[in-house]
């Protein structure tokens, strides 16, 4: 029984209280714990607590040789597993000075862009489901299944790929993959109209996303935000154009940006990027060169002493591998720059002042993958 006489007025009249959003909650972003300080329904302070998905990737790198570490990058950001896998191979190749055959580079670009489309389907449709729209979620995941079928044909895996190898890729693409990708591009182009009619013009969707969670350019610079989260705020920064790697300079594509910086802008940037990725895949399939798909590298790769930093554009932003080598077969230190780590921290700046329901929208629009934050 509450003994009223012993509680002083400050506690009874206290308006501010703390609420746990997570670590287990029905929204599908993994184990994310947000500690909210609320004044009624308005958020006063938000503190993301991470570490619920920590698997020790960076320590594991010091216990494995470079080849044995290949399955790990895909499990960090599993929604862009192919992109991380190729990025790690790029980092080791840069350190050792291995040159990759052109056909392998084209295959890397095709598979990376397919993976990017698959990841953006999850990013946008999970955001829509967080606002209450269940049908786009089912449509988006079904379109994604077509991509997973294609990637399973050549790599054998649906989600966590280890398709890249130092010096290229593991095996060549088949005729089935080639024809399937062509058919997929055609089909997806017609599906964009379906999504436009279903969700993009929906009144509730727009009202809940417009002017919610605005990230200004200054905030983005101070917090190191990258990726579609940054491009929704008007900064035209994409690693594929600014620090071109692989064969991206040979393709013509644009970087969609929006000026407003709110949730709707970030959603529209991701939807617009789907079209650009399709363009890149089409151009790559048209100009696919013949040749080997894997360079001759020693069985166990031994990079010279030194360090190197390689950055690439994952579906969430600019990711990077910083490898310090001491001349042996085992890396000395591998540091992974995870884009979701910086993107998540900006929540502490933009969330205060919004309602509790908007937090779900903002968190969904930033599109984080939790194991990438915790590594």
């Amino acid at each position: 029984m509450l003994n009223i006489k012993t509680i002083d007025d400050a506690t009874i009249n206290q308006r501010v209280y703390q609420l746990n959003l997570g670590p287990q909650h029905p929204s599908t972003h993994g184990v994310m714990h947000l500690l909210l300080t609320l004044d009624g329904e308005v958020v006063v302070k938000i503190e993301p607590i991470i570490g619920y998905s920590h698997r020790g990737h960076e320590k594991m790198a010091e216990n494995r040789i470079y080849e044995q570490y290949l399955p790990n990058p895909a499990r960090m950001d599993y929604l862009s597993g192919m992109i991380f896998n190729h990025g790690y191979c790029m980092a080791v190749e840069k350190l050792c000075g291995i040159e990759v055959p052109r056909r392998a580079e084209y295959i890397r670009v095709i598979t990376s862009e397919l993976n990017r489309i698959a990841s953006h389907f999850i990013g946008t449709m999970d955001y829509a489901m967080g606002l209450g729209a269940i049908t786009p979620f089912l449509w988006g995941w079904d379109d994604r299944e077509n991509i997973l079928d294609l990637l399973e044909m050549i790599s054998g895996s649906r989600l966590t790929y280890s398709y890249g190898r130092f010096g290229g890729v593991r095996n060549d693409i088949t005729k089935e993959f080639y024809d399937g990708t062509r058919k997929f591009i055609e089909r997806l182009r017609s599906r964009f109209w379906d999504y436009e009619n279903l969700i993009n013009q929906n009144v509730i969707f727009i009202k809940r996303s417009k002017d919610v969670g605005v990230i200004t350019k200054e905030d983005a610079l101070l917090y190191g935000v990258t990726g579609p989260t940054l491009r929704g705020s008007g900064v035209k920064y994409d690693v594929r154009k600014h620090e071109p790697y692989s064969v991206y300079p040979e393709f013509k594509f644009e970087i969609p940006t929006r000026k407003e910086g709110d949730c709707l802008a970030r959603y529209q940037v991701r939807m617009a990027e789907l079209e650009q990725s399709l363009n890149i895949i089409e151009q790559a399939l048209d100009h696919l060169p013949p040749g080997p798909v894997r360079a001759k590298v020693p069985r166990f790769v031994t990079p010279p002493e030194g360090d190197c930093y390689v950055t690439f554009e994952s579906a969430r932003g600019a990711a990077g591998f910083y490898i310090v080598s001491d001349g042996t077969r085992v890396p000395y230190r591998i540091k992974v720059r995870a884009p979701s780590f910086s993107n998540l921290f900006v929540l502490t700046k933009i969330c205060p002042g919004h309602f509790l329901a908007d937090i779900v929208a903002i968190f969904g629009s930033i599109d984080v993958t939790v194991p990438e934050i915790d590594r």
Binding site: E62, G224, F341, F345
Partner: protein, 164 residues
């Protein structure tokens, strides 16, 4: 293969850094093999001065990391640009094991979490950090995982020869 704009920015950057941090050694590196254009080696301090210069020149703090070299730590800061002239700067500072470097979080708020991660994994405490506590490992952990004398690394145990 640097563009004119990049070369101009590099020259400006070198002069501002040489002015603000005269005790540091700046050298240009080959971007194709290293991934960064400029390398700044510091000895005792100066990370905050460098951060202020980079913020004035509209660079973003990409990442903060460290490596354990048994009798010293090496702290590494990476800065990069958002705009057309893409330049990356890597700042290294070798500090002995008990020295506490200054935090740059007053200049770049991104460093609040990045430096907490370095503290969590290495035990390096940063002075004037607003909220230095564990971030990824459990709050009651009493170990710093990425130190070379923790757990198993190639130094404490020989990696068996891998036969495939």
């Amino acid at each position: 293969m640097l563009t004119a704009g990049q070369k101009k920015l590099l020259v400006e950057l070198r002069s501002s850094l040489a002015e603000a941090v005269p005790e540091g050694q700046i050298s240009e590196s080959d971007y194709a093999t290293k991934g960064y254009h400029l390398e700044l080696r510091l000895d005792k301090g100066g990370v905050r001065r460098v951060a202020q210069i980079m913020l004035d020149k509209r660079f973003m703090l990409e990442t903060v990391t460290a490596a354990d070299f048994i009798d010293s730590f090496e702290l590494v800061y990476l800065y990069s640009t958002y705009n057309q002239q893409q330049v990356r700067l890597l700042t290294r500072i070798r500090i002995p094991k008990d020295v506490q470097p200054f935090s740059v979080s007053a200049i770049f708020p991104a460093a609040i979490w990045l430096e907490r991660e370095v503290y969590d994994f290495f035990g390096i405490r940063f002075q004037e950090h607003p909220d230095l506590k564990r971030i990824i490992n459990p709050d009651d952990a009493d170990y710093f995982p990425l130190l070379k004398n923790f757990g198993k690394t190639k130094f404490t145990d020989q990696i068996d020869d891998i036969l495939c």
